[in-house]
Amino acid sequence: MAVKVRIPTPLMKLTDNQAEVTAEGSTISEILNHLESQFNGIKERICEENGSPRRFINVYLNEEDIRFLDGERTAVKDGDEISIIPAIAGGTGAR
């Protein structure tokens, strides 16, 4: 199963500046592992040691947060789109 993964700007350093990459797997967890095999270090940025996304990063399957699906065990199918959305704080840029 090949899906498109949207990489957020802060993690693009790890994907050679690609905002969109392809990964394979039948669950979110497998997708994240395949992502790691292509881009060393990326999984650690997204997930805790137990494999679930860090609390300041959300993973979406299409337009739905996987926390409200089956978490990392959520099944994915061909053509799905996964988005990784970290908390960002840039706003006023006051200082």
């Binding site: 739905e64 409200f68 006023t92 200082r95």
Partner: protein, 268 residues
């Protein structure tokens, strides 16, 4: 009873002729009370257009002064006003644009002690804050008081907008239960931002404020709008209320305001 002056009828004519706005809608805007957190990147365009629209009561919180490096995006200020308090500079611009707007300035830093008093006078809070402690503080205070936050954030070529309306949708902690540890995510000026992105996102926040005040359309509650400037793409993701949310969930664990330590700008 709508009692516009001739000048107001002319000034707001392009609003008044919209059936969705009309005289009554314009009256609602003139009576509305909106608080801006920051007169910086997002706050500048937001304050400017809110003032143009005739939002009658605008509060602005900022303790910073205008700096040359702000002017690439903070269009409510000007080169002449470098060194001036941002609140004062914003007020001058707003008053030149629209004398109908009553502007109240707060040259303060938000904390758990002053926030409740500050938000009390307002119905809508436009969050353009650039740091996590403020973002969580305002979220919790608004959940506790039932005020609506119009949230925006920008980073490099990307921006996000959403509306947090207590009771009707999720809050910021439903998305991210607690602030990230220092150094794990970018904040402040790290990495830069395409200046105009502040205008796009700040003005999308204004659109949402106006819709909420007018009670028209479908406000961005429970939806996260993401703008990718490089690929010219808008995406909308669903945001859901988390029953286990520590502040707005079924059994909240956060019942008092928390002052998180500000880590922006600290050496790593």
């Amino acid at each position: 009873m709508i009692d516009f002056t001739d000048e107001q009828i002319e000034r707001y004519s392009r609003h008044i002729i919209l059936p969705e706005v009309g005289g009554q809608g314009q009256q609602k805007m003139l009576e509305a009370r909106v608080l801006l957190l920051g007169a910086g990147g997002l706050g500048s365009p937001a304050a400017y257009y809110l003032a143009a629209a005739g939002i009658g009561n605008l509060g602005i919180i900022d303790f910073d002064r205008v700096d040359l490096s702000n002017l690439q995006r903070q269009i409510i200020h000007s080169t002449k006003r470098i060194g001036m308090l941002k609140t004062e500079s914003a007020k001058k611009t707003i008053q030149d644009l629209n004398p109908d707007v009553k502007v109240t300035l707060y040259n303060e830093k938000l904390d758990s002690k002053n926030i409740m008093k500050l938000i009390d006078e307002y119905d809508y809070i436009v969050d353009g804050s650039d740091n996590f402690p403020t973002r969580y503080l305002i979220n919790d205070a608004c959940v506790m008081t039932g005020k609506t936050i119009i949230h925006g954030s920008i980073y490099r070529f990307e921006g996000q907008v959403t509306v947090f309306k207590p009771g009707d949708g999720p809050c910021y902690r439903c998305l991210y239960p607690e602030p990230p540890p220092p150094g794990m995510v970018p904040n402040c000026q790290e990495g830069g931002v395409l200046g105009v992105l502040a205008g796009v996102i700040g003005n999308l926040q204004v659109v949402e404020v106006l819709k909420l005040i007018l009670g028209i359309g479908k406000p961005l509650i429970g939806g996260l709008l993401i703008y990718d400037a490089l690929n010219t793409e808008f995406r909308k993701l669903k945001l859901r209320k988390d029953v286990d949310c520590p502040v707005c969930g079924e059994s909240p664990t956060i019942k008092e305001l928390v002052d998180y330590e500000e880590f922006c700008g600290l050496p790593r």
